[in-house]
């Protein structure tokens, strides 16, 4: 029971000494065998397990093998419609995933042991189904671990719902603890801020088509976790939002939020210094109640507005430190972004959806091609390949005027 030869610590070291031949391979395709479009891929806390969900209404669980390949260990039909999102809970709570679907429900699944006869396939049992939504459930996210086992869902009916597992020993008992109306025709995504020290924020995006209204709303948890209050609408983002995500705070004094709309927005959200410096009351829980029900003042800045995709940005994801942002767009490319020391964000790599790297010949040489030059559906990539090849041309989007523009609320 104690000495597992594949103890994770040892694996960690092995990974460091991986053989050089591995470096040669460009991209590792994972044959998923999904019967339809994959909508989401989620990795667990350790990056050793993966969950994929698809329009074929199923979810698959994958375990990373010692040789670096992924092996499917579970595959089951989860919903009666396309499964939009899948997400892992913190391992403290066990092996839990949550899914949400077009069929207007979200569900919580727990891995259980079989009778030992089939070790290869693990079993996932539905612990609860959240059926309150009157529209497609577009996103489901677990709260950061210090808030306990909580789930937020967003739905096409424009309502944000927060569920909490009341009894830790019974995963089937969930209570709808908050129901927040977003005033949008439909919400597309939500993200929890990741810091224990800074006030807890929930960002919600909408795909509402209504012109010239802000599509991202921020809520703060006040009154010792009893109430969510709307603190801000990001009015400069007026296009439908498809995805948004907070970076891991990692000791920073502010939140960084990436928003995928028509363009890619990177926003910093700084709680006002005044209130946060009195955060020593984090330890002494006594604070006058009137103060606690008030939201803080926030300084919200647009750090970058990145248009390189030249089409709708679909998904965004931060790396562990919140220093590299990956975005995918309708142009069929994945772009990696980093900020340099002057906090200007630039594109550091462009990857085609099929795994090949964008090279000089592609997109650049349109002059010698008479009839056509489209292989993937994209506009001319001249500007992008320049960014990428010359390495350090400042992105046109990082103009100083934009960089410190204060948001009008």
């Amino acid at each position: 029971m104690t000495s597992d030869p594949r103890s994770p610590v040892r694996r960690f070291v092995e990974e460091e000494n991986s053989s050089p031949c591995e470096i040669m391979s460009i991209c590792l395709p994972v044959p998923t065998d999904h019967k339809d479009l994959i909508h989401d891929v989620a990795l667990d806390y350790y990056g050793r397990r993966m969950a994929t969900c698809s329009s074929d209404q199923s979810v698959k669980i994958w375990d990373l093998q010692d040789d670096g390949t992924w092996r499917c260990t579970a595959n089951w039909k989860t919903h009666a419609g396309s499964v939009w999102k899948v997400t892992w809970a913190h391992p403290l709570y066990g092996q839990l995933i949550a899914t949400c679907s077009f069929d207007r429900t979200a569900a919580l699944w727990e891995e259980t042991v079989g009778d030992g006869s089939s070790v290869a396939q693990s079993h996932w049992v539905k612990r609860t189904s959240m059926v309150d939504s009157r529209g497609s459930v577009s996103d489901v996210q677990f709260a950061p671990k210090h808030l306990g086992l909580q789930i937020v869902t967003t739905a096409a009916d424009g309502v944000i719902r927060i569920y909490e597992n009341i009894d830790q020993s019974n995963l089937s008992q969930w209570q709808l603890v908050h129901e927040i109306s977003s005033k949008f025709a439909g919400c597309s995504c939500a993200s929890w801020s990741q810091s224990r020290l800074l006030p807890q924020i929930l960002a919600v995006g909408s795909y509402d088509e209504a012109p010239s209204t802000g599509k991202v709303v921020l809520f703060e948890l006040v009154d010792q976790g009893r109430k969510w209050i709307k603190i801000e609408t990001l009015n400069s983002i007026t296009e439908p939002v498809h995805d948004l995500t907070f970076a891991n705070t990692l000791g920073r004094s502010f939140h960084i939020l990436a928003v995928a709309a028509k363009d890619l927005h990177i926003v910093s959200i700084t709680p006002s210094v005044k209130r946060s410096s009195s955060a020593s009351n984090l330890h002494s829980n006594q604070q006058s109640a009137s103060l606690l029900t008030q939201p803080r003042a926030y300084d919200i800045r647009l750090l970058a507005l990145l248009k390189d995709h030249q089409s709708t940005v679909w998904r965004v994801s931060w790396n562990i430190t919140g220093t590299i942002l990956a975005s995918s767009g309708d142009d069929g490319y994945i772009r990696l972004w980093r900020s340099n020391f002057t906090s200007a964000w630039r594109c550091v790599a462009v990857i085609r959806g099929d795994g090949t790297l964008q090279t000089e010949g592609e997109g650049g040489g349109s002059s010698n091609r008479k009839l056509s030059n489209s292989e993937t559906l994209d506009l001319s990539h001249n500007a992008q390949s320049q960014n990428f090849l010359s390495g350090f041309s400042l992105p046109k989007t990082a103009s100083p005027a934009l960089t410190f523009q204060k948001w009008s609320s």
Binding site: M1, H34, V41, L250, S374
Partner: protein, 876 residues
């Protein structure tokens, strides 16, 4: 131009331009084929014409024969309503059908525009033709291509008015409303849907042709049947896309409006619920993703998600497109300027980073993965430069854990010089304050050391001369004021500018920082030494010439520089790039005014310690304080770690490190520093705790638990052992219910997370006899396998078969982990870990007689979180 893929040959498509129908063959190659006629379709595909045929008329619409039994045939509808079968010859003479059909012409009685043609996929002899209106004829006709018109004409004459028509049509539908679209169902080959302008969609069943049904709608164009579910029909009218369910045909189940008039739509034959479309006068290619939940009771309204692409680099209006019948998401698109594009439509991609720097994404049904080792070079580079990977590498190398010489940590920073400078400073602080590695750093900062200067402290002023061996100059020159005081001395020792400068000179020399050494010598009024150093430098360095010139220049310095010397200096000034040499001459030459001094101390290309040292020597109290204040503010706002020397480890220091973390994201260095600091401010402010928390979280998610545990020990080392972790598990006696913690006192504080009753015993001889409960004296539980009571010394007999000599010896010395007592969380039977492990290698059931618990399966992996474990988890 119109294009259409061949339904059964992967690399062929028909292109229609006016009255010329061309069969193109597509080949994939990286290079353009040496063929004058080849046309580039995309970067890797080219097409060349195989067969060119002339149709007898101007073609308005066409449809491939869905089967290849007849050979490659295309039905083409004309402006006058005639339908011609155009053939592309296969291998010669192998098909009778082909020969009988090719160049066949069929037509209605009254000529008018042919709007649509559809070839039945199952009964492949049937073709439906949609025509414009005529007051005395139907607009939708169905022909059997094998029967000649004469046959029907004759038959009609014989039978009188039994439905057969003189033009040879088998069926006629639709009255005299113009038919603008028609499409056969694929599986139910007797059913067809057609759109009639001004009327609506109609569903026709050949078995019962008299009862067409369908809604009144404007969305009558482009009616087509979902290849994945024959109940769904899509059609469009103006700028509205409509979806229909034939089982409930009266009302559209979904509609979607686009900005412009739609010109063509087509279901994807390879992907469920995907419709492509083109709009009038735009280069945009639209994709409509139909989401439809199939909940049995409650049929939800489908939702249409739109995506949009621009084809090609030029803004060309798209005229037609065709999905490839087999290759997923491959579309052929033709434009107004008669170019053809072979396009791979990429799906919306989803992506995610793992905590271990893997980037995974899914494109369509495929997954891809980049790891931090297997990505292409630019990505590896980008990832490796990133703080996340650097942090991981440093953690593996034990960054921050070099306690005795903190400067050793700097070596692990891989050239991150700005951060690295803080570590030698911390060493310097220790040595100045007389601390060793077991003391916490409480340094208050240069700023606060010097804070008291103007008031109380006694600052002495001396006037020094740059002697250069020659006697001091004439009396008029008083020399340079040099300030000393205890505080200044303290700071200078910190900066390595102690009065005994030789030590620091040696250190710099070993690092080959000759210009710096020279500057330090000059600032200590030792020009002689500076010249010597420069001469040494000239011998070793590549810049021999410039060092020599500077040495010569310096040696020519006198208290009252001649104009000749000044001129010479001015001449070589442009060649001096080193900030230190520049500083030397500025001091020597210029009038030592405050401006010059200020210029030197604010020159950020000089090392911080030299600037502070210089300032402490030459600036008077007020100026010095002002300078330090400005410098502190500058370093704090910029978040440069080195500035901790100025701020010290108070609130201001936290602000500085916070700014550093904000800009660099290096929570690791911040955590390591806060582990060394023991000031009140740092232990009370939540921010240092937050850095540590976040860093521990990062280590955890890398599964670097051992490193995290070491860091925990390290960071609580100076702080009284950190938070006490309470006992996690207590074993109680089965009989009296009291804890079997026999040697209560000594072990409770030392054991963190160990099972208390198994306190680690370094020496076998000291193990007390603990195989009985300390309160009631009954025997403790037995190992299910060896039947020895728990707590019995295990240095004998517990040697399992596969242990070698070495292990046996070891087992006799201390209890190795596998000799610890453990138990199943469910059935509460247990024994020595190694015995149990051996047992469960071959069994799934518990070793205790009569117990059917499948202990090992339950504990296998992290599958089950028992209530107990979850309670532990949430208490953390």
């Amino acid at each position: 131009m119109q294009v259409a893929w061949s339904p059964y040959e992967n690399n062929l498509f028909a292109g229609l331009l006016h009255d010329t129908l061309t069969l193109y063959a597509v080949e994939s190659s990286a290079e353009r084929p040496h063929n004058a006629q080849s046309i580039e379709l995309s970067r890797h595909t080219f097409c060349s014409p195989v067969i060119v045929t002339r149709t007898p008329f101007y073609v308005r619409c066409l449809d491939w024969c869905p089967t290849n039994e007849f050979g490659r045939l295309v039905a083409a509808g004309s402006a006058n309503g005639r339908l011609a079968i155009v053939g592309f010859a296969d291998s010669p003479g192998h098909r009778d059908n082909f020969r009988s059909l090719v160049n066949k012409e069929i037509g209605p009685r009254y000529s008018r525009n042919c709007n649509a043609v559809s070839w039945n996929a199952v009964d492949s002899n049937l073709i439906a033709v949609g025509l414009d209106r005529h007051r005395s004829d139907s607009s939708l006709l169905v022909y059997d291509v094998f029967l000649s018109p004469d046959h029907y004409a004759e038959k009609g004459r014989e039978d009188g008015q039994h439905g057969a028509r003189t033009d040879g049509a088998l069926f006629d539908f639709g009255g005299n409303d113009p038919c603008v679209s028609c499409s056969w169902f694929r599986q139910s080959s007797k059913i067809m849907v057609a759109g009639f302008h001004g009327k609506g969609l109609r569903l026709f069943d050949l078995r019962d042709p008299s009862k067409p049904r369908g809604p009144l709608t404007k969305s009558v164009y482009g009616a087509c049947v979902d290849p994945f579910g024959e109940n769904r029909i899509a059609s469009f009218g103006d700028n509205q896309l409509s979806l229909w369910d034939v089982r409930n045909f009266e009302k559209q189940i979904a509609h979607y409006n686009v900005q412009k008039v739609i010109t063509q739509i087509e279901w994807s034959p390879t992907r469920y619920g995907l419709i492509a479309g083109t709009l009038r006068d735009t280069p945009e290619f639209k994709l409509f993703d139909v989401q439809h939940a199939h909940v049995s009771r409650d049929d939800h309204e489908p939702v249409i998600l739109e995506r949009c692409f621009t084809v090609g680099s030029e803004e060309q209006t798209l005229t037609s497109f065709s999905w490839h019948p087999q290759h997923e998401n491959r579309v052929l698109i033709s434009t107004l300027s008669n170019t053809i594009h072979d396009v791979q439509v990429l799906e919306r991609m989803t992506l995610n980073w793992s905590k271990t720097h893997h980037l995974l994404w899914a494109c369509g049904r495929d997954m891809h993965c980049f790891t931090d080792t297997s990505a292409p070079e630019p990505i590896i580079q980008a990832i490796n430069e990133d703080i996340s990977v650097r942090m991981k590498r440093r953690a593996v190398n034990g960054y921050g854990m070099h306690v005795d010489t903190l400067a050793d940590n700097a070596a692990l920073l891989e050239g991150d010089t700005e951060v690295a400078r803080i570590w030698p400073w911390l060493d310097a602080i220790r040595s100045v304050e007389g601390l060793d590695s077991s003391d916490g750093i409480t340094f208050r900062g240069v700023k606060s050391i010097l804070a008291g200067l103007p008031g109380k402290s006694r600052t002495e002023v001396k006037y020094e001369h740059w002697s250069n061996g020659s006697p001091p100059g004439r009396g008029g020159n008083e020399g340079v004021p040099v300030y000393t005081s205890n505080e200044r001395d303290q700071v200078q020792r910190l900066c390595g500018w102690s009065l005994n400068k030789d030590a620091s000179v040696e250190a710099f020399l070993s690092q080959e920082q000759y210009d710096r050494v020279a500057a330090v010598c000059v600032f200590h009024f030792d020009i002689q030494r500076a010249v010597e150093v420069l001469q040494t430098a000239a011998k070793k360095s590549e810049l021999a010439k410039s060092y020599n010139i500077i040495a010569v220049t310096l040696s020519g310095y006198t208290e009252e520089p001649t104009s000749l010397w000044r001129n010479f200096y001015t001449a070589i000034t442009p060649e001096i790039t080193s900030p230190y040499i520049q500083a030397i001459f500025q001091v020597l030459l210029a009038n030592r005014s405050e401006g010059t001094l200020k210029k030197i101390v604010s020159d950020s290309s000089l090392a911080l310690e030299d600037r502070i040292g210089f300032a402490c020597t030459f600036l008077n109290d007020n100026r010095l304080q002002e300078f330090v204040k400005e410098l502190t503010e500058d370093y704090t706002t910029k978040g440069i770690l080195e500035g901790l020397v100025l701020t010290g480890f108070g609130i201001e220091g936290i602000d500085l490190v916070q700014n550093f973390v904000d800009s660099a994201g290096d929570v690791q260095t911040a955590s390591m520093i806060s582990a060394l600091v023991t000031t009140k401010e740092w232990s009370e402010d939540p921010r240092p705790h937050q850095w540590v928390d976040h860093y521990r979280e990062v280590l955890d998610s890398w599964m670097f638990w051992e490193g995290r545990a070491m860091f925990d020990v390290f960071s609580s080392r100076l702080k009284g052992g950190g938070p006490k972790v309470p006992r996690q598990i207590v074993a109680t006696c089965n009989f009296c219910g009291k804890s079997i913690n026999h040697a209560a006192g000594g072990q409770s504080s030392s054991a963190r997370g160990e099972k208390m009753f198994m306190g680690k015993t370094p020496n076998v001889g000291e193990i007390p006899k603990v195989s009985v409960c300390s309160s009631c004296g009954k025997l403790l539980p037995r190992c299910a396998l060896c039947q020895v009571n728990m707590g019995t010394p295990t240095n004998m007999n517990f040697v399992s078969g596969d242990m070698d000599e070495e292990l046996v010896k070891k087992a006799k010395k201390i209890n190795p982990l596998e000799m610890w007592f453990t138990w199943c969380q469910t059935c509460r039977h247990g024994g020595h870990a190694s015995h149990l492990a051996e047992w469960f290698r071959e069994h799934t059931e518990c070793a205790v007689t009569g117990c059917t618990c499948k202990c090992m399966v339950i504990e296998n992996g992290c599958a089950i979180v028992t209530n107990n474990r979850r309670r532990i988890a949430t208490s953390n």
